[in-house]
């Protein structure tokens, strides 16, 4: 038996991705309209953000530009989720219609096969938006640009993405266990809106929840301390890449366990 190694999976992923993008591009109108929609969504939430800060110069010691930093950072961190893991949104439909079984007949990892199937181009627009916002905030805050900081930023973004993806994995995989899991998805998706805010604005109770139960604080808050509060970086920030990997792995196990269970009953 040939080993199903990382290069093998990378190659398959590339194949599927390129094909998917090619076929998506052939629907030009759909592509442009959804991109424009995405831009408007982001513009309007940015406008709401701006108006709030016209009235409050700072929130719990966080300045407008620092908040903007968080905002851009969280948008960027969400981009991989949006682009690469969008099929999780369709999971429940596959499961309820019984079509999920087709993912079980290939000699490759079920989770990989399922996730690889869809690439959402809209996410790129959102990523670009986040990048511009982040660079703008970065400039205004006069943060340094060094090689080390860029590496830290990339690592922080990766970590944040892992958390976000893991949360959505957990939420999507609930459809293997319960009916009406759509609400879980929507709720989990709502949580990521809170990711844009420093968790110090929440009550201690919610701070605990957002750190240890639904760890959205790791999506933007903890990583951003690395750049914004350089003199006082908590331990959790340093641990976050590790926690992120563990959390993602747990979500993967939960997902796969669900997939196995599902095929145990469905017809």
């Amino acid at each position: 038996m040939k080993t199903l190694s990382l290069p093998y999976y990378a190659h398959i992923y590339k194949m599927i991705l390129i094909q998917d993008i090619k076929s998506k591009m052939s629907y030009r109108a759909d592509f442009f309209i959804s991109t424009i929609g995405m831009i408007f969504t982001n513009l309007s939430s940015l406008a709401a953000f701006y108006i709030t800060f016209l009235n409050f110069p700072s929130v719990m010691g966080w300045s407008y530009h620092e908040m903007l930093f968080l905002y851009g950072f969280s948008l960027l961190a969400l981009t991989p989720l949006q682009c690469l893991f969008d099929n999780n949104w369709s999971l429940r439909n596959f499961v309820y219609r019984g079509d999920f079984i087709k993912y079980c007949f290939r000699p490759i990892n079920t989770y990989f096969y399922f996730i690889s199937e869809v690439f959402d181009l809209k996410g790129l627009g959102q990523g670009a938006f986040g990048l511009v916002t982040l660079i703008y905030a970065w400039n205004k805050l006069q943060l340094p640009v060094t090689f080390l900081i860029i590496v830290q930023l990339l690592l922080a973004l990766t970590t944040a993405s892992l958390f976000m993806i893991a949360i959505m994995n957990f939420a999507a995989a609930t459809c293997f266990y319960i009916i009406n899991s759509g609400y879980v998805m929507v709720t989990a998706n709502k949580f990521r809106d809170y990711a844009k805010y420093p968790i110090t604005i929440f009550e201690p109770f919610f701070r605990f929840i957002f750190t240890f139960i639904i760890p959205i604080a790791f999506i933007a808050y903890y990583p951003s301390l690395l750049f914004l509060r350089t003199n006082n970086i908590p331990l959790l920030t340093w641990l976050s890449p590790l926690i992120g990997v563990v959390f993602f792995y747990l979500s993967y196990l939960f997902w796969m366990h669900g997939a196995r269970n599902y095929t145990g009953t469905g017809s």
């Binding site: 599927i16 990892n109 095929t263 009953t265």
Partner: protein, 351 residues
């Protein structure tokens, strides 16, 4: 290895929640969990040889899909042992998947938005098919069906028939030793059905692929399967040659004769008279045989069990006594035999 698929005393049970009726019942269900065990498959054993096409039949809910899912490694049997190509499918799902092909009814496994040829290319890489084997396979496909027309058509835009065809081709692409086809001709028109049957037959012959086929269409069975396995309510009812099936239920054939040239009188009375005349004619001659005689329009039908008396003897005897203007022979169709089995009529009533 003699058997490519080996099932030994395989059972599968599901636990199903006993749901109560009404809103009150639903609330009770929330708190007490009253499970019942459903035996989807009950102690099934069978051995399948390489290169066979086996028809796996049974009414809806008989446990066919459950068995197929166990053989493909998607489901774990509750008890018993399954070996497919020397492997336990459930324990080695990914390796097993490399050596089987599956087509599951109307559920396409191809990439919905991709043209067929692109799907093939991805499958080539997933199954790590060599360039030579891949080209050979495509050449074979092209010689069997007009697949070139489909290459550049996205699966989404295909008709059901084209999609089924594509799915079957995709299942054979990596030249697996075993292919499972779950109702491959469901919902297809007559000409597409025969096209697909011919394709399956050709691939089976050329590639020596073992094919397990579930279907409700006896046309599929007659065209493809030498051997059939019938299950109902999870229990195996029959496992043997299709020829044997007919004799198993009695070697019945119907002889239809027309004894007068022009009959204008189709009344019940005239029919009864014709039946009675025939009975008086042949019963004394063949005392050991049990005939069932009926009449319709100007035909007299005699159902003959050939294990009791040969049909040709009856025919030639009638001819010595009466002028026969026309005659027909009706075989008992597989369909009516299977119907009998499903309805649980036992083995000795004629259709």
């Amino acid at each position: 290895m003699n058997n490519i698929i080996q099932l030994t005393d395989v059972s599968k049970e599901f636990k199903v929640l006993n749901r109560r009726e009404g809103l009150k019942g639903s609330i009770q269900d929330l708190f007490s969990r009253d499970y019942k065990t459903v035996h989807a498959v009950n102690h099934i054993s069978m051995n399948i040889h390489p290169g066979e096409i086996v028809g796996y039949l049974g009414p809806n809910g008989a446990g066919k899909s459950t068995t197929i899912k166990m053989m493909t490694g998607v489901l774990e049997p509750t008890s018993g042992e399954i070996l497919v190509h020397g492997r336990t499918p459930y324990k080695n799902r990914t390796q097993n998947a490399q050596e089987i092909g599956v087509v599951f009814g109307q559920r396409s496994q191809l990439w919905w938005s991709l043209p067929l040829i692109e799907s093939f290319k991805i499958l080539k890489d997933i199954y790590q098919i060599s360039d030579v084997d891949y080209q050979d396979m495509l050449a074979l496909y092209e010689s069997l069906v007009d697949v070139q027309d489909l290459y550049h058509k996205p699966v989404r835009q295909m008709s059901l028939g084209q999609r089924t065809l594509s799915d079957i081709l995709a299942a054979f692409l990596h030249n697996p030793p075993v292919v499972f086809l779950d109702e491959p001709t469901i919902g297809l028109d007559v000409s597409m059905k025969s096209k697909i049957r011919e394709l399956i037959k050709a691939l089976n012959q050329q590639k020596k692929t073992t094919v397990i086929l579930t279907t409700h269409d006896m046309g599929d069975v007659d065209a493809l399967c030498k051997r059939i396995v019938i299950i109902d309510k999870g229990t195996m009812l029959y496992d043997n040659d299709i020829e044997h099936l007919r004799s198993f239920f009695g070697a019945y054939r119907t002889l239809k004769v027309k004894l007068s040239k022009h009959i204008t009188d189709y009344s019940e009375e005239a029919k009864n008279r014709a039946i009675q005349t025939m009975e008086e004619l042949i019963t004394p001659q063949f005392p050991n045989a049990h005939f069932q005689i009926s009449a319709e329009e100007d035909w007299v039908n005699i159902l003959i069990n050939e294990s009791e008396v040969e049909l040709m003897k009856v025919l030639s005897f009638i001819q010595t006594k009466n002028k026969i203007y026309d005659m027909q022979l009706d075989e008992i169709s597989t369909e009516s035999v299977i119907k009998k089995i499903y309805e649980g009529d036992g083995g000795h009533e004629p259709a």
